[in-house]
């Protein structure tokens, strides 16, 4: 789910940096309004490292295996810190593993960051709707996790398909985007299921990491 260097048009590269800059600035503004933003920074950094490492775990999906993206649960746990966390994580992946790239850092961060924040919003909805049962927690955890990956995939494929001059008409282009996104639905479901079980585990062992969200404490 990382767009590499060299493939995007200059307009998209520049637009990606502008969008990521605005998203990061807004998130940092929100972070500075938290009770003790300095206290939360080390937690956000170590959780970024932990998400980074957890995404290396192989999940067998016969006949191959996949890695979880975890941007949905990252949003659920880190809240506004998810945006700087994703930016830091993508920068390190580009520098260390050449996953993604420097010129596409902006667009990749936007593509992953917006769904993460929306996943956070979805998970918090259960408080607003006053739904406290385990079932509703599981449903919202699933939606957060699946939506995080699903939306990121939709954005990525839209950008990729519209960036490449395929000499095909708009209808075919839309069909390609739909087909690629639909192909990712099973992965979004897997991501959602894992999110349910990770959230359940955290609620059992360290509920303060999930309730509200960990970094406002």
């Amino acid at each position: 789910m990382h767009i590499p260097d060299g493939i995007l048009t200059p307009e998209v590269v520049i637009g990606g940096y502008i969008a990521a800059g605005a998203l990061t600035a807004y998130s940092l503004r929100k972070i500075n309004q938290l009770p003790d933003p300095q206290a939360s920074m080390p937690k956000a950094a170590l959780m970024t490292a932990a998400f980074f490492v957890a995404s290396w775990i192989h999940i067998p999906v016969p006949p191959t295996s996949v890695h979880l993206v975890l941007n949905g649960i990252l949003g659920v746990v880190l809240g506004w810190y998810a945006v700087p966390a994703i930016l830091v994580g993508l920068f390190l992946q580009a520098v260390m593993f050449q996953h993604g790239g420097l010129t596409t850092l902006g667009i990749n961060a936007t593509m992953m960051g917006i769904p993460a924040l929306l996943a956070y919003g979805i998970f918090q909805l259960r408080h607003r709707l006053n739904l406290k049962s385990a079932l509703s927690t599981n449903i919202f955890a699933f939606l957060g996790g699946a939506f995080g990956l699903g939306l990121a995939a939709l954005i990525a494929f839209t950008i990729l398909v519209t960036s490449i001059p395929t000499y095909i008409d708009v209808a075919t282009e839309q069909a390609a985007i739909t087909a690629l996104t639909v192909a990712h639905i099973p992965l979004a479901i897997i991501e959602g299921i894992f999110t349910i079980f990770i959230i359940s585990f955290l609620l059992r062992v360290r509920p303060d990491m999930v309730e509200s969200h960990a970094l406002t404490h």
Binding site: G6, I31, K43, F52, I59, V95, P165, I190, I193, I196
Partner: protein
Amino acid sequence: MHLHIDQYAHLDSPVHRWNPRTKFISLFLLILGFSLVQDLRLVPFMLLITVGVFMVSRLPLSFLLSRLRYPGVFLGALIVILPLFTGETVIFQLGFLSIQSEGVAYMLLVVSRFIAILTISLVIFGTSTFLTTVTTLRSIGIPAILADMLMLTVRYIFEIADALTRMQRAMKLRGFEMTKLDKRSIVQVASLMGSLLIRSYEQAERVYKAMRLRGYGAKDQTEDITMTQLDYANSDHALQLNDIHFAYPTRPPVLNGVNLTIRHGERVGLIGPNGAGKTSLFLSTCGVLNPNSGTVSAYGQAVESNKFHPAIGLVFQNSDDQLFSPSVREDIAFGPANLGLDDETVEQRVENALTLTGTSHLADRAPHHLSGGEKRMVSIASVVAMHPGLVLYDEPDANLDMRARRRLIQFLQNAPHTVMVASHDLEMVLEVCDRVILLDEGQIIADGHPREIMSDADLMLAHGLEKPHSLMPHIHTNNTDNALHSTIESVTAS
């Protein structure tokens, strides 16, 4: 796990010697320029510049090729797909497959741009240490919170990855390996990920305490950090605790009316069984914990909860909680820099601390690559560089081998500050301390000369301790020393 991020950062080339800030800005603009190339006729020039910069950098070709391994799959896919599905002008037809000229041209453009940008990126990050890169990013204006997060993330990625490897190995040794996507496997792997997150979260809490104790955020507080100018030697006392009570919410008291005065220059051992309150006493002493009642002062200045007190240093039991910077030198400089000292003074303090602790040869190493003993001495150096009057050592010899332990003892015997050391290693306490305090159930049970207190076998036994072996008369063989055996059995039973 090793990512070799700084593998070739210390080579000597014009690019390595280039001012990091100028290098970063120039080469990043070059990369952005490459991403604007739309005309195939410009590709040879782009590749020529790339090859030139790479050759001047003297980075090995194998380094570049190894970095192409991961994105190679994507590159391969582009090489195959673009000529087949992009364009209208067929230049080659094989059955239903046709290769279009526009697709080939576009593929060449994209692949060339990709390789050029990746190569120049490698030159930017491969010719400077990661620390220099972060410093450069900070100097060009990226928000401090992003730079700090970047540093801490890199510092702890290795540790967390190692923890994951250990946990996966433990699961495998107990018969679990995820080979299919069934419910049990999902639950197990989700628990593994959850454990990883919780471990990281809890370690972050300890790291934050360590950062606060070395002045992180102190500039935002109102306390007078010129307290470092205190005249330690002429103060009435190094530490004074008055009737300290502390309990964690909904739990029994951990500290139950502790009164204590320590004079400057004393070496005080704090002994007691597990759960006696030793660590809580240390954390209350340096302001990390807020006592429910009572007062703490160090060198005549009150210690306030959650506020930095430069006269007190704490060496944590786990060095990895304390060493949070990507290099030893940076870690030692962290505290003095937070005191608002100028660069020259900070550097001087770092050199002095390295010399005092015998760690000068480790200055440019990454903390996570050090041995346990080296980490311990660097932790001490990071505290000593703050010039505290009193240093609290929490289990300083835990997990050290004999040689590292001996080195630590020799350092503590000659430390230029007041020492308070909490330890289960009673032999070390005997060697280092001129006073010992026995703590149990949050109360001071005994306070006096180490030999007098620790020779009292009944007193030691009553509080879950054992008389040190060196204080026992060696007149019996191991097989007939019933008194010793019964003592050990009693301690074990209690």
